[in-house]
Symmetry: C2
Subunit: 203 residues, 2 copies
DNA sequence: GTCTATAGCCTGATAGAC
DNA sequence: GTCTATCAGGCTATAGAC
């Protein structure tokens, strides 16, 4: 009578391989465009074997989104009300830019989901995400009120950091088509630092 | 023997209805996620009748992209080297923001295509789009050189205008989930104008 | 020009041997 | 746990009547 409730190393390895393959395929094809066959092939498994680990295509996608959402919001969570205002916002921007560089597939997974109306994560956006942004926006507004940074609409400031940083991941092919050989991430950090310093430096 | 080479009014109307329905479906589902049935239903036609007007699903998508690409690049084309630098760039941003507000489906159609690697328009990005951006970037660089606007990386400046304006269309559901009842386009124009004035005003 | 019917393929998911 | 074989349903596109 074996007591093997904890996943074996093979199970852990296969689960991880499936999630990595699914990230690759979902992020470049969207949910409906992705096929279980393609994910299984990328994971080095047969289709029925993949469906032994996850009950359905939907379940793989859900597991991916859930696993990544926390990571995705970490940079904003780390914005410290007790820190130096300009440096806190710049650090937030730097962390987001770093994530776009290091985790472009994750960025495109969310981009696909949201562009198509976020049918599977809309509830989380309206609850968890909104609550977090509300909290941090009021921190930023307080900094403006105290004259420690220039006055800006705090929500649109946060939107701007999202859009500018994720653009380099989500629209990667377009950016590279325009830049040619130049690496997008060569000049992006300095450009964005300049932008936010000029925008936020107290008058 | 009828000489009916020019499309009749019914044909024009049906073609337009198909393209409008296809824009609706492709922009919210992506190419592979969209089905001909869904487009036909939205256009008020049967599936075979739709395929009488267009030979394939691919052909509808191609017609849409081609028709829209010109419109999409018009705001950048209008950037006038002889105009006032700051006002020209602000006007460009305003035109792009207006397009995001008025044509969100078109924005999402491109977003879907590019996020998924632009398999169908990559060639156009590397040729036409790159040529146009190269041209306008050198105009902006010349303005910086002459000290008429502050120094910024001209390509990343253009990327920033794309990403900030299109964010309101492409990530509409997320923006609205965070803002609640507030209309995104209420504060966006002022936020963006402030941003680019502070970024570009000569030191 | 527009329909019904259907061909032919691909998809997600399951059955059952090993 | 992993495979081969396969089902049932959905998909693009076509055939053929009207």
């Amino acid at each position: 009578m074996t007591e093997a409730r904890a996943p074996t190393r093979i199970q852990q390895k296969n689960r991880a391989a499936i999630l990595d393959a699914a990230l690759e395929v979902f992020s470049s094809q969207g949910f409906r465009g992705a096929t279980v066959d393609e994910i299984a092939a990328a994971a080095g498994l047969s289709k029925p074997n993949l469906l032994y680990y996850f009950p359905s295509k939907e379940a793989i996608h859900a597991a991916l989104l859930e696993q990544l959402l926390d990571t995705w919001l970490d940079p904003l969570r780390a914005l410290d009300p007790a820190g130096d205002p300009l440096e806190e916002i710049l650090d937030y921007m730097r962390r987001k830019l770093q994530m776009a560089r290091d985790l472009p597939r994750e960025s495109r997974l969310f981009a696909n989901e949201i562009v198509q109306g976020a049918p599977r994560i809309h509830a989380v956006l309206s609850s968890d995400l909104k609550a977090l942004v509300d909290e941090k926006a009021s921190v930023i507004a307080a900094w403006s009120d105290a004259g420690r940074i220039a006055r800006v609409h705090p929500y649109h400031l946060i939107f701007s950091i999202w859009s500018l940083t994720q653009h380099y991941a989500d629209f990667d092919v377009q950016v590279r088509a325009v830049l040619g050989d130049e690496d997008p991430f060569a000049a992006a950090p300095e450009f964005m630092e300049t932008l936010y310093r000029r925008l936020l430096s107290p008058a």
